[in-house]
Amino acid sequence: MSILVGKETRLVVQGMTGREGGFHAERMIEYGTNVVAGVTPGKGGTTHLDRPIFDTVEEAVREEGANTSVIYVPAAFAADAVMEAAAAGISLVICITEGIPALDMMKVHALLPAGVRVIGPNCPGVITPREKAKVGIMPGHIHAPGRVGVISRSGTLTYEVVWALTESGLGQTTAVGIGGDPLPGTRFVDALELFRNDEETEAVVMIGEIGGTDEEAAAELVAGGYPKPVVGFIAGRTAPPGKRMGHAGAIIAGGKGTAAEKIEALNKAGIPVADLPGEIPRLIRDRIGG
């Protein structure tokens, strides 16, 4: 068993015939992901990477039984693509696209049917190494099947941590990139809930950063009782207030959302916070042995 993606994943790639979508669809197929179809309006009836291309997600669901979608659609159209996937009966929508207007995502959340989960936007995706399922843009080769769940607002910083876990022999159960936008579809608390009952996951790493209060919410959830050790990292200790640090969500606004506040909240909840990414494997081993 795994969370979010695995052997049961039947993936449709929205924007598969585009440059980004095509490149990553190929990498996903190479890795072993079950990519069943692509969607590009107007290219229905063709094939790409030996997969059928449809005009609509609805057709991909009907014809190929797609249950998961990954979105590589330009920002102006991406929110609509998420809603199309949700309306077509896709239950997990992973949105890679960066730069979607905040208002569009608010509307998406207000309209999302019950039972549909969105990951992202502006995220690297989700990977479950043991089941050879990679949905997103992360480099597959740095991952290894293992014991640790990873939840992160970042992309390359996640790779850094993932690689440290791989090198240390701990590996990953599933790594979830929840994305760097201010309104992620899945937050730390949601991802923690998913890992809660995942038998293979022995510990969870939370990679947070400045901005918002999602790390604090996660700390509260863990303080309320969480069955496995959680270890944290917070990027942006040296970030100045009022400046957006790349990610739309990484901003200390009105004096709130500093790294210091988050580290304090995590520590209070009994979550050790690493000073350097490289310390994370040791913090985990201290707790789960091996």
Binding site: K107, S154, G155, T158, R237
Partner: protein, 388 residues
């Protein structure tokens, strides 16, 4: 994106909020002319810069006579205004707003912003107008009233009404204050939603002695990601208000923030870039900047990034940290080599390179005389050590 007060007020007016009569001008002569057009009333002469705290810095003056107006405009136009928000270098004032001074009975605060925790826009208001909201939030959070707005429904009449009653707008002698207040709150919310703002703030929202409710000041920020669908907002951009290096970076597709340290950082990915800054600090130095070369860093962009870093005279050393994923290490290496050739890098450069096409990247760099590390910690320590 930020805009000036006079632009914010024009937008507020377009959406139905009342604002004091006034006009923004570039010169002393125009300032006097604007004052005459207003009917020679008492006016405020207000420096137009993208920063708060203008009053304390001498950027806002009252004037009642032509001489007053002339002298106020003359002293403010062209000044370098320093406030707690400008940093010590201050901002050059190129425009002043000449605005009718209003007789205020009571000041309120009203704003619409994004509530990240709830995932919706939030309309906030307080009876403690004229103060910074953070201050009120820290001292007396109960004083801030909040209404979570539905992003599709917008502000509903009962929501604006309830908030207006909660603020006590029905307790003024002039009965129209309630209705005017409701209209203004509605305008704020509509502006926020229809123009993809990230902040609409009116502080103070002033109840005047004559019963009018006006936005005595106004601040509107926009969601950068949504500017593509609002060319009329993009047209309000004042590039002179932006840090030149940040502007240059933005147009090259780079995400750059200037800081005060000495170690220039070039990283791929925003989270890793922040973490890299933190590591520099951890090992005892200060980062000179945040710089994310992005997810598809091509050699040209890498070279441009180095150019921007090197243009900062504080930079005494450069730390390049690349975790290749989509980004290929060889492509980055080519960019570094190209920058070295074109710009002649004279400060020490420490490189950490790992991930996709790492070997090739390492070879290219080593051939060009760069040392390349693999471990982040070791590389960071070394980057900091070269300064000493």
């Amino acid at each position: 994106m930020k805009i000036h007060e006079y632009q914010a007020k024009a937008l507020l007016k377009e959406f139905g909020a009342a604002v004091p009569r006034g006009r923004a001008v570039d010169s002393v002569e125009e300032a006097v002319e604007a004052w005459r057009e207003l009917g020679r009333p008492r006016v405020a002469v207000k420096a137009q810069i993208h920063a708060g705290g203008r009053g304390k810095g001498g950027g806002i003056k009252l004037a009642e006579t032509e001489e007053d107006v002339r002298s106020a405009a003359d002293s403010i136009l062209g000044m370098t205004l320093v406030t707690h928000q400008t940093g010590p270098e201050g901002r050059l004032v190129k425009k002043v707003l000449i605005e009718e001074a209003v007789a205020i009975e009571k000041e309120f605060y009203a704003a619409v912003t994004l509530d990240r925790a709830r995932g919706c826009p939030i309309l906030m208001a307080s009876r403690e107008g004229g103060m910074e909201i953070e201050e009120v939030a820290a001292r007396n959070p109960e004083a801030i009233l909040k209404v979570a707005l539905h992003p599709l429904a917008g502000i509903r009449p009962f929501e604006a009404r309830s908030l207006a009653f909660a603020l006590g707008l029905h307790r003024f002698k002039k009965a129209e204050v309630l209705k005017e207040g409701i209209r203004t709150l509605t305008a704020l919310a509509r502006l926020f939603l229809e123009k993809d703002a990230s902040l609409v703030e009116v502080n103070p929202l002033a109840v005047l002695e004559d019963g009018r409710v006006v936005a005595a000041d106004g601040k509107v920020n926009f969601d950068d990601s949504a500017l593509f669908r609002h060319p009329e907002i993009e047209a309000l951009r004042d590039e002179a208000e932006e840090e030149p290096a940040e502007r240059e970076a933005r147009s090259a597709g780079l995400s750059y923030v200037k800081l005060d340290g000495t170690i220039g950082c070039m990283v791929n990915g925003a989270g890793l870039a922040m973490a890299t800054m933190d590591i520099v600090k951890h090992f005892g130095a200060e980062p000179a900047n945040f710089l994310d070369v992005g997810g598809s860093a091509k050699r040209k962009r890498v070279a441009k990034a180095l150019e921007i870093i090197l243009a900062d005279p504080n930079v005494k050393g450069i730390f390049i940290n690349i975790f290749g994923g989509i980004v290929r290490c060889d492509e980055v290496a080519h960019g570094i080599v190209a920058a070295k050739k074109e710009l002649g890098i004279e400060v020490p450069v420490t490189i950490r390179l790992t991930g996709t096409n790492e070997e090739e990247g390492r070879r290219i760099l080593e051939e060009a005389g760069f040392a390349v590390g693999k471990s982040l910690n070791e590389a960071a320590e070394k980057a900091v050590a070269v300064l000493k």
